[in-house]
Amino acid sequence: MSSKLDSDLTWSDDEIMTITAAKILKNTDTCFVGIGIPSTAAILAKSMHAPNLFLIYESGTVNTNPQKLPLSIGDGELANEALTVVGMPEIFNYWLQSGRIDVGFLGAAQIDRYANINTTYIGQTYQAPKVRLPGAGGATEIAGACKEVIIIINQTKRAFVNQVDFVTSMGFGDGVGSREKYGLRGGGPSKVITKTLELTMTHLHPGVSKEQVIENTGWELKFSQSMKITEQPKPVELTKIRELIKTSDR
């Protein structure tokens, strides 16, 4: 899907998701980043309004300032541009587990109405899955420990399900009290960014209708009374993101 509002402005799903995500990040945030759109959004934020955004990748790169988009979470670019590179016990135990990270930024294959996310398998059983996915990586503990979690996911009916096939990383479990029950100290998911909306149910992206959102969601979606339209990407934002994408090997 490509959307168009102004006569000369068009953008792709990935572009508006990435720009929307980037704008959420604050200059003073400490952010634990996953690869893909989360990483692109964080690097984009640093190149615009948040030059001091403190980025940590699970590969051990601390306060890194990549000039080109990494393909993997451990690309040399991330290490070369980092303040320091540390071992993984420091990353997971001292930085993440201790509660020092403001924002965790995750992608997912499947998400449910309580923002639990699945990156393990789709369909049938764990032992004999229809489609086996990569698994948890850092996500389980990122979802548990960060003060706030932002999830970026491509919205389809297959991805937005009433209940995920497997809770790889807990959002809000089965509702109020789940996070407390499991001792998860972080705040949990605060925003879900998709190609059509942010799932605090507050914003629709420009050019997207309520019907399109309902069509792509596997549960009965509630809309905010004061539904807003996401700010349209600015030409400068689109130019920046396109420059960044060009630096990728992909």
Binding site: I35, G60, A79, G87, N93, D249
Partner: protein, 276 residues
Amino acid sequence: MVKFADLPSAINEFVKDGETIAMEGFTHLIPFAAGHEIIRQKIKDLTAIRLTPDLIYDQMIGAGCIKKLIFSWGGNPGVGSLHRFRDAYQNSWPQKLEIEEHTHAGLTNKYVAGASGLPFTVMRGYRGSDLFDQTSGVVEINSPFSDEVLTAVSAINPDVTVLHAQQADKAGNVMLWGITGVAREAVFAAKKVLVTVEEVVEEFTPKFNSIIIPNIQIDVISLAPRGAWPSYASGYYERDNSAYIAWDKIAKERDTFLTWLDDVIHKESNAKGPKS
């Protein structure tokens, strides 16, 4: 006492059928040359541990070396799926693959426990995830000093850890720099340690973010220039992202994979990628 040996001899002496092996290196310094030699020597029934199985274990799984995989993220980084891993797990090709799955934080801590000589260590993790019930060696534990319920993870102690590093000195100390992942923990957790290196130098020049593994922790060192390709060795060559993208096609079908095994692994000169 550490010794230097050529890679085929080192693998032949230190990696045996049925052992538990950890071949670490997080995106960086993945010991591909050693993995390829294990395939060539047809070593089998390995229990293989890695946070990210990556292409190295996808290749070893497809070649029939691995019976059980212990891991925490099984994808082709930035590209997609590991097709040989999926085919083995879902269709038992070329043989049944047992898995034990963790989170990065969990598997990291299992190495920490192993390196520390403890039966387990304590962390906050897994709770709330369905993984908690699907994996082994992960249990709830009451904090003896507070009201909290925490997670205990059992130690892993590989029979052999295999690493790739940038340099060894003449005395057999090893230096690596850049992203080091769980290299240090995997060494201290292991019973035997095999390291391949880009270069053997007279003496080390200090490097940004380097770690040094003293020779008393290492059993054997083999010279293997470009031994981490298509991953990378900071200061020597960059990650060959195009090879990671190309792997997706090679691994997708069994016959293209088997052709790759014949053409690349069994013709050693093709296994190190383009000369840089």
